[in-house]
Amino acid sequence: MKKKIIKTDLLVIGGGAAGSYAAVTARREDPELDITVVEKAHIERSGCLAAGINAINAYLNPGETPESYLHYVKNDSYGLVRDDLVYSIGRGLNKVTREVEDWGLKILKDEDGDYLKRSSRSIKIEGENFKEILAAEVERSGVQVLNKTAALNYIKKDGRVCGVFALNLKEDKFCVIKAKAVICATGGAAGIYEPNNSGQAKHKMWYPPFNTGAGYAMGIRAGAEMTTFEMRFVALRVKDVIAPTGSFAFAGGRQVNEQGEEYLKKYRRITTAMRLYATVRENKEGRGPCYLDLGHLEAEKKEKLAQSLLGMCPGIVLKWEDSQSGLSELKVEIEGTEPYIVGGHCQSGYWIGLDRSTSLPGLFAAGDVAGGAPKKYVTGAFVEGEIAAKSAVKEIRGLADDFLNLNISELITNEYQRVKSVLDNSEGVEAVRLEEKLQQIMEHYAGGRSQDYELEASKLKQARIKLKELKAESRNLKAESLRDFLAVQELLERIDVAEVLIEHLLYREETRWPGYQSRVDFPERKKEWRKFVNSRQNPASGEIQIVEREYKSLDEYAAFADRCQEDFYLEYNL
């Protein structure tokens, strides 16, 4: 395995929505900068947008403002979000949408030529090729993209992140990428819990199974502060194919139980979490399964619905075509997914400043890997990518030219040896075996789908013990190729994420987000718990320490921040 040393000014880890937008923004901010994106697959179809999407769910239609967006997000999240982060996203959503339309994204229009509204904050698009459009713009900008290059660990020298170690799977090379500033945009984590489907269908899920928490894990190991891992995201999806339900809901689908009752009406406050929680309750109390019932659908309407789904989830149309019946009555069964750890739909991730800097000097975060701002979705990821890029470029300008002449030979040797020892370990265990064990532990002791997502202290403590044993076992893994090593790395990432998750789940002694974070031993929501549960891992000892951070309203940020928010928005053009 040969070594390859690369020097760059700005390194973006992850070529997804946030990473792509960050790269393009950085190039515009400074045409002279050397910018490199590392992507473990290929930027053209990697990550969440691989199959395409048919709507943008964070857009401010007429009548909506950044204030109303913050109000909605905060209410939906039971009062605990980073007001400043959410509001800053609200200010940029429409601008980034118009920008990607310019790049070639097809946004549907109404008779007046305005964006076709799906709801107050949602518009319809034909986004089957959305990822290709983003990738083309990154290429056009002249940024260097290293595809098939998987990040392993940050290069951390004198407390500062100054690059990343990575594996080039195509060239079979160990890469040392030094950078003046790094933006982490690796997305969230799936596969922590047992998936909905099994066997040959185990990766048939909603979130990408290839998002395994790389960025979370690298940050955790380097001692970065993380936030709100306990607000897991459990999606409500179409059974088997795990398709999104939005298109069905907007086609008039009624959310009903087996008796045809619109069961959400029984609950006082219908949040996104409650839609899921109510469905779990209906099933638990014997009134399931639950469905989205579209009733009688004319052939033309059904054809149109199928067409809109093909560019996002062809599996569901495959399921319809597979079924024997003619299907003029359309009723799809819905169920909860495995719990995902994400900073897009929920707010698990790096604890960041308004400028998207993390607690580690030299490191910024954007998109699903960044915490504090739920319901940001694709356009929110773009806004964060833009902010992080501008901040990183500023940071780089302040550094000396010879900044990258660091002596990191010992760090290189250590990381290289770590990889090599696994490749040389013929007696070790295969990653897939320990992946099954990890998922079993989390499923049974940390509130998986089969446990109705329920959490309680004694089981969580068992999970903690078993994960520690698993961690020890994970020191004896084997891989016969770099591709196999990637599977090892992804397993280690998930274990690191799971360990932090357990600490967060144990620490919050209330139930704030039903279904996502239901403590059966602390079933009430408590005012005094309206605060953030954060954590830092000690890089030397591995010990995870919880750090509480107070909740602040938007106005309070304006008063306490080291710079006035208005100045920030002016500077960042938001």
């Binding site: 473990k40 697959a41 290929h42 053209e44 179809r45 990697s46 990550g47 691989a50 199959a51 034909e126 089957e128 595809n147 098939k148 799977l169 195509k170 489907n197 099994s198 066997g199 040959q200 269908a201 185990k202 990766h203 048939k204 899920m205 990408p208 199974p209 290839f210 088997d240 194919v241 054809e303 199928a306 067409q307 093909l310 560019g311 062809p314 599996g315 149309v317 495959l318 399921k319 075509e321 597979d322 079924s323 024997q324 591709r483 990637l486």
Partner: protein
Amino acid sequence: MAIKIDQSICDGCPDYQDGRCERICPGNLIAKEGEKAEMKRPAECWDCAACVKACPRNAISLYLPEEVGGQGTKLKVQQNKKRSLWIFDKKGGSRKIYKTG
């Protein structure tokens, strides 16, 4: 296995450095084995259909695994700049085509 690469149609993409499917897969699941492309990690397929769209010979089809009630219908996709054709071939022999774009 949620995709099938028809080995009688696959020609290993002689006009390119890599197999187009090998290059595009977001999970790095496909690799060239000699002259042809092979799905190396079938259980890990996400059914995104990126490879189905990328194959210049249309050699790849998507189907639902048995575990999720698959009945054998196969999907192929033909794309050009103007439109996409989604071709569903059912086990009985019938075919349904959707057009988008």
